[in-house]
Amino acid sequence: MRKTSRRDFLKGTVASVIGGSIITNVKAEAKTVTEADFGIEKKVPLLCHMCAQLCPMIATVSQNKVVRIEANMDTPYGGICGRGRAAMGALYDPDRIKTPLIRIGERGEGKFRKASWDEVLDLVAGKLKTIETENDQKSVAFLPRFNSAPGLDSEFFKIYGTPNIPGYGDTCFANSLTVGLSAIIGGKDASGVPDQSTGAISSDYENAKFGILLQRNPGGGLVCHAWGRMFGLGKKNGMQIAVVDPRKPSEAGESDAQWVPIRPGTDAPFLMGIMHEIFKNRFFDLDYLKKYTNADMLINVATGLPAQIRQIEKEEKGKSVKVLDYLVVSDGVVTFKSEAKNATLFGSFDVEIEGVKIACKTSLEMIQQSVEHCTPEWTQEQTSIPATSIVQLAKKLNDTKPACFIDRGYRAERYASSLREKLLITQINVLLGTLGVKGGVFYNRSVKTAKYIHVPHATDMSIPQWYLKNDPSSAFMSDHYYRRTWIKTVLSEKPYKQRVAIFSGQNIVGGSAGSGEIIKALKTLEMIVAISPFLNETIMYADIVMPDCTFLERDEAINTSYKSPIPTIGVNRKAVEPMYDSKDGYCIIMQLAKRTLKAEVFEQYFGEFEREGIMSLWKKQYSKLSGLNDAEMATIPPLESILNGRIWVGEKHYGIKAKGTPTGKIELYSTYLAKKRAELQERGYDRAEYASPLPMNNKPYWLEKKTKLANHEFIPITGFHPLGSFTGQQTKNNTLLQTLHHDTNADAVFINHQKGITLGLKTDDIVEIINIDKPELVVKARVILSEVVHPDALFSYYGMGAGYFRNMTKGLRNVSKIGLNPNHIANFAFNPLTTGHSSQDFIISIRKSV
């Protein structure tokens, strides 16, 4: 049979000049088209897992192959980036793990033998059962990421009896981004720490006139749906951008984006300089502060605590809620806020409370005074940003407010000062009156689905609960995201010993600062299991490897967690059957549950799933949607419609409000922090000032070590490559992306051109890089001399270099054999209070490799 082709098509049209229309002849030639060419073509809705953001997309499947990926445009923010478009390259990656594996060499050597599923499942279930008979389930940790079985996997391990499910977020956003926002706007209680999800707010790129980007560019970074799309549309609307960053990212704009190079880790003094200008020139929004914030709160100067508080009940949406009432000065009289008509925002007062005279100031007065010394000249000294730029940026914020923002950033855990930076960003957005306002920063909305499995309460105290209680330096840690604190536990056996780790999609060695210590800890475990479609650094240390399939090969729970202004419902469906001998995550968990749990327990929690499959999960999830208004509920389509690829979306709301602060106000002066700082001081914690509710120049670790770097020394900063994703091979080893990785020097390190010349370097030289605290770990990388990098910074795309622990690159054809992964050589340091990793907060030294 003759095959037709595009070239024939071309010939056809040349002929058609003579022969007439092509369309009319299709039927005549239809016999050359087999059913396999188009008859089984189908469209399958996916949620992209090329990074972790689950942007809605659609796969075209032809001849049982995924042949094309498109954005699912059934949402106002529809759009996927280049990573998603390359999903076929990950699905058909010939270097995927194809069968279960069992280690035969030393841990780290990467020597495995093939095994059957029964063998590996029995080994793991056997170990879990042994530990259960010893009543030591808490010594098992399950570490999930996005290649997992949402709705079933963590649930299984909780039912099994471990309270320890360490998430990865402490090496990303937790807990600086969370506390930096929720200490001021409030949040739900997570083991005593206020918690807003990392997707709580968005900058209103589409409607903003001006914005300052810090530590993030929404363009080529992650979250195309909705941030990338919103950002692009904003640029199209003429939004002006200033990028305060040690390296200028192209993604924020090339012709029209102001670059303000900053010394790495000095965002806090920069923001204090901006705040100084806001107070000096009265750029703040007085009405906003009066109406919505606790700027008028009287603070006891000696303690930093509110002068006096009392609990009152308040009507809110027809419900009675308890809030803290506090003292203010109203028309010259000290009174409680609930009874005040015209509270004063500035001033110092001696207030008599229960017969004692106390020196008090309004919280706004205290904040103002705490930045009084932060003149543009002082700021220049700290940050290397010219004083004139500080003045200009503050003025531009004032000229455009409230349609302006300082971006919240993401992947927040970089420096010891990260929490302070996030607090200052929130405070400035509040001072300018942009929080909750069109063109400023606003609350995202979301919808919640019903829980499929209600797990029993844990009997043992979890690791984070122990640290939150016993370790002052962990006072603001997340009780969900704590994988490096878990490593601390493995090493110290505090509060108890860890014996088994099961990684599902988490690459703890590649993705967390201080890989050396992490490896040391892993080597002490009795069993390490890794579930992953791809090789990574952590797999090299696993005893048992289970290949789960990629997201294109499995159905998944309905997803509603998006960094989007509007509530969104979508689902990932299976486009093709699992390849090789891989299995989907649900199948793996069900098999483990079946082999581990007592028959009646299995039946109680997993019986329905075993009989009805994932449909039972979808039905349950969809049976109760919460967080929506009546009008939105009326538009909810039948479940089938979602399963067929419809993306349901709700409404966008602007609105200025707190989200559960103790006072019910937006707390420009955080009462949570005030209270915690007092407690931490009492406990003798030496970095209690990192919890201050007032602006403070908390230093990064590297500046405590050296105030000036030697010529050959740098701070290793990173940013996402537009076609890279954390440390994952789904993008790094993706052949579809290889040419573009090459075109953009994805594996190189970039330093300031002039500085490079003084070091005798030229572009494409190979350099050796060491952390000055760990000189034994030498990494080689190709250097590029660049005009768009601060002299104190060495930039690399995050996770794109091979790094020091690069054994796995042998099995990955497209992964560079050299290049920096700062995590590998970083110190095993923790950011004060939040316990996030200090991923860029160390000093490296470079020399030409000979």
Binding site: T4, Q63, D74, C81, K236, S786
Partner: protein, 270 residues
């Protein structure tokens, strides 16, 4: 078939490279349709010549007054298409929709097109001795689909349509940027650049003083070539089979029809 053109907007672009990845992916799908190589195999081989759209990065200025610029390197589908004029076998033609295309069955790999192209576009593949460049996705366009790069863009930085509509939208955007930034933005390629290339069917919205930075040549020429005698051989273009109607065509038609049916049910928005 009315002429369609594309526009790239340097201001709305977030440099995510979705356009470039999608171009490369679409060309692999074409290999599958042609029966040359299945998609599973083709995404395992880099094949840089299938990236018809590539970034060319450079840095402008000196620290701290510096920036990186990402020029988009691609075929401009010139009105006067010098590659077509020089092609000795007639392998290069301009389709009714305006796309300048290479017919690889006729291409003999002489690389004259590369010599004639003032933008240095056609890529030569040593593997099979043919020249490659953007086909304007005419197979998609002629079936009412957007070009794969345009379809991929999440921010409407890449858009296409009938010439007058695209130029109107581009001019509107340029005027907004000029007003908001205080710097003059122009639409490169909308007006004839010179007699050698004429107007372009891939135009670019760019700040005027950045034309050179984005490697947008306002006087594209290949002096030596212009003196060469154009050897146009009509026979090559006619020496073709008469097969018409293709799998590709049929799949696109089917795809479109399925979407319409789905939209009719109100369950799937286009």
């Amino acid at each position: 078939m009315r002429e369609q053109i594309k526009c790239y907007d340097t201001q709305a672009c977030i440099r995510c490279f979705a356009c470039m990845v999608n171009c490369s992916a679409e060309n692999r799908l074409r290999l599958q349709r042609e029966g040359e190589m299945g998609i599973e195999k083709s995404v395992q081989i880099p094949m840089p010549h299938l990236n018809y759209l590539s970034p060319r990065r450079s840095e402008i200025g000196m620290y701290p007054n510096a920036r990186q610029v990402t020029a988009f390197h691609h075929c401009n589908h010139c009105e006067n298409s010098p590659c077509q004029h020089i092609c000795p076998t007639g392998a290069i033609t301009t389709r009714a929709g305006g796309e300048v295309v290479i017919n690889q069955d006729i291409c003999i790999g002489c690389q004259s097109c590369g010599d004639a192209c003032p933008f240095d576009v056609p890529k030569y593949s040593a593997d099979n001795g043919k020249a490659y460049k953007c086909s304007g996705c005419y197979d998609r366009v002629e079936n009412d689909l957007k070009q794969s790069c345009v379809e991929a863009c999440p921010t409407t930085a890449m858009f296409s349509g009938y010439k007058e509509n695209v130029i109107e939208e581009a001019s509107k955007r340029a005027a907004i940027y000029t007003q908001k930034t205080g710097k003059k933005y122009v639409v490169y390629g909308a007006e004839s650049l010179n007699n050698y290339v004429g107007t372009l069917k891939w135009i670019t919205i760019v700040e005027e003083s950045d034309l050179a930075a984005y490697q947008l040549d306002t006087k594209p020429e290949r002096t030596a070539i212009q003196w060469r005698d154009y050897a146009k051989i009509g026979g090559g273009a006619l020496a073709v089979a008469t097969v018409v109607g293709t799998t590709a065509h049929f799949i696109y038609w089917l795809d479109k029809r399925k979407k319409k049916i789905a939209a009719g049910e109100g369950d799937f928005h286009e």
